[in-house]
Amino acid sequence: MDLSRLEEILDSKGSETFAIMEVLQDVQEAYRYISEEAIVRISERLDVPVIEVFRLANFYKAFSLTPRGRHLITVCAGTACHVQGAPRLLDTVLALLNTKPGETTADGAFTVETVNCLGACALAPVVVIDGKYYDHMTPGKVRALLEDIRFEDELAEDEDEEEVEAEANA
């Protein structure tokens, strides 16, 4: 694991009481999870016991202790989304990807999460895939989106392979 970004984050941290929270937020953003190495290093640099860093990383929903997939699928479970069918959307996604909320698929491609509310209630139900919001979703539409992503990933893989082959031939 490349820890240089972590060192940069630690170097630029402020002196406020909440600096540790900011560091964890930035680490989460940079690495998409808080690794064991990161926890130990943050503990050393900030002079906070490992258990405290772990406790923070474990308590707050914004932090994840396991690596995320390449694609992050967030199903909004806010009230407006709930009464308009979010549970069925979540089930569809989980069934199609054969995974559980908060977990990553075995191939490392997808992580499925729920969020309590995205504040886009007028568009309910909402699903966010890789940062893009999809409004008024139905199980059928989600299914189509997932298939598109899979298809694009396969295309990209094929291209990669072709490149490797081309290089080998050259």
């Binding site: 406790r55 914004a62 479970a77 009464v83 209630c121 409004d135 199980p139 059928g140």
Partner: protein, 617 residues
């Protein structure tokens, strides 16, 4: 940018900005809130800027992207002034026509106008849309005139004049008095009198004082705080500076949910612009007053919206509440006197100082003053953010502004106050929105979520939903909340899955009482409300689940089955192809059937079926 080193220089800048804006003949306003962005407003905005340049109109046409206007369902929105001609669901392809017809010739393009779902008539001007006409948009209305990342827009609208007035001609004591007299109550849920809170903080002894803006907005179904912070960040900053002046604080924090990336950025940009103009920092407006603000990203825990937990989180600790025998106005952040107010509360402060306490207090009811923003969502025709005068009835909001039920169904309840609130039946719809009236009816104003439910919602399921939410979000520090809410959830789950018994209803009430009196913070204290209010007003639904094992709304999955109506089914195979659980069998020649064991009642098949042959039993 030249610094504003005196109040006169602020006024000079205001004149200069007004002069610049007056040059433009036409102003094109586009909504760029989170919801409109989700609907694709950014490509429309880019197309508009490009088209205006291409037609050589940039000298006379001003294009402005603003925060949320509240009418999220109709986005992307485009408004053309003067005249306030409004277009809904605009795409980039529509832009050349808008520029050629409406901007150049003043012609309205009917096809892009809004059609009122109630009267079925098209409406051309923004101020004639029924959704807006019944509202009183003192706070939200400003969003439409302001590009959130342009401080000059805010200044042009009279921004920072309240701050100038407070610093120039009022003592801190007079500011506190003005807020007290206005009757402003906290908009974050509790409704605590803001002036009283400020006075307590001012009178408390300490080495330093802090002001904090609570933008954690954890209630599912709420987004008014996000829209204010995203769309008009300077109004909150100005409110906070005035509050800091009143209580004597030098540092302020905006604690904002990380799930609101646009709000985080816009608040940060606004702070930097205010600093550059010396509206924040040292010697504000040359008056010798020092104050600065920082944005802090929340860690995504619902309980961190609670005042003591929020301050613990700011201190870099786990966000657990503490007992409030000593209030945070005396010992808050870092043990010092601290004022914590909600975003909407702060946003009300500048206009109170500008127009006076009497002006503010003349609006609303005897006991609740001013306006309140609600997120009107769920099963009504018009959803979005609305702002009404206190005292407006639920019925006016749901039927006149919301346009009534969708899809010809019947409305049966409205949920107010989020997880701490309750569900009110139609018989209570003549209640006014007022802190006390809603509380007395068994719900809460809360921070302003209003989710309308029709007969396709099951009230047992709604209670279960909130309990699951609260159990997940309980920090676990105190036993009544940690264990009690979990037990409530188990019981309601039993009922929703057909294992309920009548004596469980008494148990629910008993346990609710214990949790509400024994929990440490308001999360636990109010956690039973969704159960108690549904039990009070929708007891027959609980009885139906228990005695008849029936969920009339067809929501509770253990109590429903999906069946295929062979008279409607044309054996097209779509359901078989779509079922993720391979639960449907049949072919061209044999009739279709659903295997109950494999079926999870997800209803993907029903969505896919064009014949509507899949029925819920």
């Amino acid at each position: 940018m030249p610094e504003l080193d005196s109040i006169a220089s602020l006024e000079a800048r205001r004149e200069e900005v007004a002069f610049t804006l007056a040059r433009y003949r036409t102003v094109v306003t586009m909504c760029g809130g989170t919801a409109c962005q989700a609907c694709g407003c950014q490509p429309v905005a880019r197309a508009m800027t490009r088209e205006v340049m291409a037609q050589g109109l940039e000298e006379t046409v001003y294009v402005r992207t603003t925060g949320c206007h509240g009418f999220c369902e109709q986005g992307p929105l485009v408004i053309i002034d003067p005249g306030g001609i409004v277009y809904v669901h605009v795409t980039p392809e529509d832009v050349p026509e808008i520029v050629a017809q409406t901007i150049r010739k003043g012609k309205v393009i009917e096809r892009l106008s809004y059609t009122d779902p109630v009267s079925d008539k098209t409406v051309q001007a923004e101020d004639e849309i029924p959704f807006y006409t019944r509202q009183k948009r003192l706070l939200l209305g400003e969003n439409r005139h302001i590009a959130p990342r342009d401080i000059d827009d805010y200044i042009a609208r009279g921004g920072y004049s309240a701050l100038a007035k407070a610093l120039d001609s009022m003592t801190p004591e007079a500011v506190v008095e003005e807020i007290e007299r206005s009757g402003l109550q906290g908009r974050g849920g509790g409704g605590y009198p803001t002036g009283k809170k400020w006075r307590q903080c001012r009178n408390a002894s300490g080495d330093a004082r802090y002001v904090i803006c609570n933008a954690d907005e954890g209630d599912p179904g709420d987004y008014m705080d996000r829209s204010l912070l995203e769309g008009n960040p300077h109004s909150i900053i100005e409110g906070m500076i005035i509050g800091a002046f009143a209580v004597g604080a030098r540092h302020g924090y905006i604690y904002v949910r990380k799930e609101y990336p646009l709000a985080v950025v816009n608040a940060g940009v606004a702070i930097r612009q205010a600093q550059a103009l010396r509206l924040l920092g040292e010697d504000i407006l040359g008056t010798g007053f020092d104050f600065d603000i920082q944005v802090v990203r929340g860690g995504g825990a619902f309980v961190c919206g609670e005042s003591t937990a929020l301050m613990a989180s700011l201190e870099g600790k786990v966000g657990e509440p503490r007992p409030k025998d000593i209030h945070t106005v005396e010992r808050g952040y870092l043990g010092q006197p601290t004022v914590l107010n909600n975003v909407e509360t702060w946003a009300n402060v500048p206009s109170i100082i500008r127009h006076g306490a009497d002006w503010f207090a003349s609006q609303g009811t005897e006991r609740s003053k001013g306006t309140k923003i609600f997120a009107l969502t769920g099963q009504v025709k018009n959803t979005g953010l609305i702002e009404v005068e206190m005292g407006t009835t639920l019925r006016e909001i749901i039927y006149d502004i919301g346009g009534g039920p969708k899809n010809g169904r019947e409305i049966k309840a409205v949920q107010t106050g989020g997880p701490s609130g309750g569900c009110l039946p139609t018989s209570q719809f003549d209640l006014p929105v007022d802190f006390d009236a809603l509380y007395e009816a068994g719900s809460m104003m809360g921070s302003g979520g209003m989710v309308v439910m029709d007969d396709s919602s099951c009230m047992v399921d709604v209670a279960k939903y909130f309990l699951a939410f609260l159990q997940d979000e309980s920090c676990g520090k105190c036993t009544p909340c940690r264990l009690g809410v979990g037990r409530l959830l188990e019981i309601v789950t039993d009922i929703s899955e057909g294992r309920g018994s009548l004596d469980q209803l008494d148990l629910l009430e008993d346990l609710s009482w214990t949790i509400s009196v024994a929990s440490l913070c308001a999360l636990g204290k109010t956690a039973p409300n969704p159960v108690l209010s549904t039990l009070k007003y929708f007891r027959d639904e609980y009885l139906d689940h228990i005695e008849n094992k029936r969920c009339a709304a067809g929501v509770c999955r253990a109590l429903i089955r999906l069946v295929i109506d062979s008279t409607l089914c044309d054996r097209c195979g779509k359901c078989i192809a779509n079922c993720p659980h391979k639960a449907i069998t049949g072919s061209r020649d044999t009739s279709y059937a659903i295997d109950d064991e494999l079926c999870t009642r997800c209803r993907i098949c029903a969505d896919a079926c064009e014949q509507h042959a899949i029925l819920v039993r």
